[in-house]
């Protein structure tokens, strides 16, 4: 089996929904970024999404934009990304995703990027500005390297395009849960839940919402609608910015957040079990 099977294995673990914890590679600097990533894994995150920053991140809100700018000014680049993935992989067996933008992959050479990602221990690659129409060469290279190419579905995706996306994607479907850029939102949009249910009817792939998810009650709502996991990005990333002056407390704050988020659905299940007994 390819290393991509690590993602499929995680979804078979039975502990759903999985928490995909996101952090920006190299933020605030390389060493602390490795520590944050390891801390998220050790605190109970089921999968990590490591964001390789791009100078012009049009899909991202201010929190991830600022984190990316911090990382780039601290010297982050694609070579160091793979070193970072390797360093994180040494300490954890959970699936590791790389999230970036198309130009970062193209400039390394598409096959080389996926090959380097696989060798470093990554399991999936997500590209924020890559719709299915442009994804062909990327998905081919991903498969050759044993990487899952993760594709997006949005509430604006037509049924026709959904078919094309499902024919290319492996690993899981990244459901864009909020119209707009990444960043913390108040609640869960009904159209996202409708979209989640509609996608679940069309595929056996796990469906994982991301964008705007920051609180246990969001996760509960998505879990009830059938989400196989949730991606939490800005809520984690902003901790790195907030605790920049208090590095000692940064990992503690990240750990608390992951525990709060992973604890939520379990509490729900326990309450249901209590009610039944």
């Amino acid at each position: 089996m390819t290393s991509g099977s690590r993602i499929a294995g995680a979804f078979r673990s039975g502990k759903l929904p999985l928490l995909v914890a996101c952090t920006v590679a190299g933020d605030p600097d390389f060493a602390r970024s490795v520590r944050i990533a390891r801390c998220l894994a050790a605190s109970g995150a089921d999968m990590l999404e490591l964001v390789m920053p791009f100078s012009d991140p049009v899909a991202d809100g201010p929190v991830i934009q600022d984190a990316g700018a911090r990382a780039l000014s601290a010297g982050m680049n694609t070579d160091r990304l793979f070193t970072l993935v390797r360093d994180v992989r040494k300490k954890t067996e959970i699936p590791l995703l790389i999230m970036t933008y198309a130009n970062i992959v193209i400039q390394r050479g598409i096959p080389r990027f996926y090959h380097d990602a696989a060798r470093a221990g990554a399991d999936g690659v997500v590209i924020a500005d890559l719709p299915a129409e442009e994804a062909g060469p990327f998905c081919d290279a991903a498969r050759d390297a044993g990487i899952d190419p993760i594709l997006f579905v949005s509430p604006t995706t037509s049924q026709e395009r959904l078919g094309r996306i499902l024919s290319l994607a492996t690993g899981f479907i990244y459901l864009v849960a909020a119209m707009g850029v990444t960043g913390v939102r108040e609640g869960v949009a009904p159209e996202t839940l409708a979209c989640l249910r509609a996608v679940k009817l069309r595929t056996n792939l796990p469906v994982v919402p991301g964008f705007g998810i920051s609180a246990p009650e969001h996760i509960r709502t998505y879990a009830e609608a059938g989400a196989d996991g949730v991606i939490v990005g800005s809520a984690i990333v902003r901790i790195v910015g907030e605790y920049a002056e208090r590095p000692a407390e940064m990992e503690e704050a990240a750990r608390r957040l992951v525990e709060e988020l992973t604890g939520a659905p379990l509490h729900m299940e326990r309450r249901e079990a209590d009610a039944k007994s």
Binding site: S55, D56, T78, Y101, N103, S154, S158, G180
Partner: protein, 390 residues
């Protein structure tokens, strides 16, 4: 019928999934609404009665004598709003209304496209918000005031390099969030398909008029044509109707401080990659991070270029050359004094390249320069740099 999303290897649609439905809707509108008789009739009305087309093709006696060839200026500076940008802004604003959307967002560098979008929005009853880097807002304060007077909201952009590139980023972010009721009125032949084709088609009125006018005046086609290239909309609008003709085409890129320093000469010194939804030449580092461009002219200060220009560059059909800040200022003053026409700093790049290449032309050769905009907006900046222009 499907329209190719590519020019050779260039172009495409590298955008977040959420935008794909809007791009497909726009592609459909581009293929069905734009060619329709109803749309054409409205468009002709706005271009002729409102914007003041056709614009003159002026034979320049003094420059012709000085450069020893027959020099014509295509006078887009005389179009309402003072630049060619209005051709596209009116076209897309009208298309927005045909598509049933009520809100327009736009980005602007020099402010010319922002002003054009504000004018088109006012004329067609659409609400307009314009993203503009705060650095450009300082450089182009006059155009900020014009946009506000025209009823548009100007949204300052403080991210990244705080110029045109970042204004496009913010406009794309707005569009992703408000895609159902908003049209992104992009100002140049950049961005994801169908924008490079759509904007080109609204700008080819420039080249079509030149063809008619020059055949009337000279009974033959020009020998050479020159336009400035930032994103490249005035250039493609001028060149496109002549691509199959024996006319030498020149694009003047922003050479800035020179190619060994900071510049915006994407085709002359960049390499292909993806920015703002399209695969095209870019100014970038070895890892694909986009670098800050530089030009004295805000309208050419962009690290990318329209994908069709990348194709024409590779094919060798258009010759692209850098023009430095200093050469542009020199030609700004030259045209002002020689012909009594103050050009936009962007257009001054085309004048500068025309002066250089005129060396190779015979005395009866016809040289057409696209004077894409007028220079009122740049007068204060040039005066400050040259000590009053003397």
């Amino acid at each position: 019928m499907t329209v190719s999303t590519r020019f050779g290897p260039y172009g495409g649609r590298f955008v977040p999934e959420t935008l794909m439905a809007a791009l497909e809707e726009l592609d459909e509108a581009y293929r069905t609404i734009v060619p329709s008789a109803g749309f054409r009739k409205e468009m002709d009305y706005y271009l002729q009665e409102y914007a003041g087309r056709e614009t003159p093709l002026t034979f320049c006696r003094n420059m012709s004598r000085d450069l020893s060839c027959r020099v014509y200026l295509k006078r887009e500076d005389l179009l309402h709003s003072g630049a060619h940008k209005l051709n596209n802004a009116l076209g897309q604003a009208l298309l927005t209304r045909f598509m049933g959307k009520r809100r327009i967002i736009a980005e602007t560098g020099a402010g010319q496209h922002g002003v054009a979008a504000a004018i088109a929005g006012a004329a067609l009853g659409l609400s307009v918000e314009v993203y503009m880097g705060i650095e450009d807002m300082e450089r182009q304060a006059l155009n900020v005031a014009r946009m506000q007077m025209l009823g548009a909201k100007v949204r300052p952009v403080i991210s990244g390099s705080r110029t045109l590139k970042d204004a496009i980023n913010e406009a794309l972010r707005d569009w992703v969030a408000n895609v159902r009721d908003t049209h992104y009125l992009i100002g140049s032949v950049v961005g994801p398909h169908p924008f490079p084709s759509l904007v080109r088609d609204f700008q080819t009125v420039i080249g079509r008029e030149i063809r008619r006018q020059i055949l009337e005046k000279e009974a033959r086609l020009p020998d050479a044509m020159v336009a400035c290239v930032g994103g490249g909309s005035n250039a493609i609008g001028m060149f496109h109707p002549f691509l199959d003709d024996p006319v030498i085409l020149y694009g003047a890129e922003a050479g800035g401080e020179g190619l060994s320093g900071k510049h915006g000469a994407t085709l002359c010194a960049g390499r292909p990659g993806v920015l703002h939804g399209t695969y095209t030449y870019l100014i970038q580092d070895a890892f694909g991070q986009i670098l800050e461009s530089h030009s004295i002219s805000a309208g050419l200060d962009y690290p990318g270029v329209g994908p069709e220009h990348s194709f024409l560059h590779d094919e060798g059909r258009v010759i692209y050359r850098p023009v430095t800040d200093g050469e542009a200022i020199d030609s700004f003053l030259y045209l002002s004094r020689t012909e009594g026409i103050i050009p936009a700093l962007e257009s001054a790049h085309a004048v500068a390249l025309a002066r250089t290449i005129s060396d190779d032309l015979d005395t009866d050769s016809i040289l057409v320069i696209n004077l894409s905009g007028r220079g009122d907006k740049d007068v204060a900046q040039v005066a400050a740099l040259t000590g009053g222009g003397s």
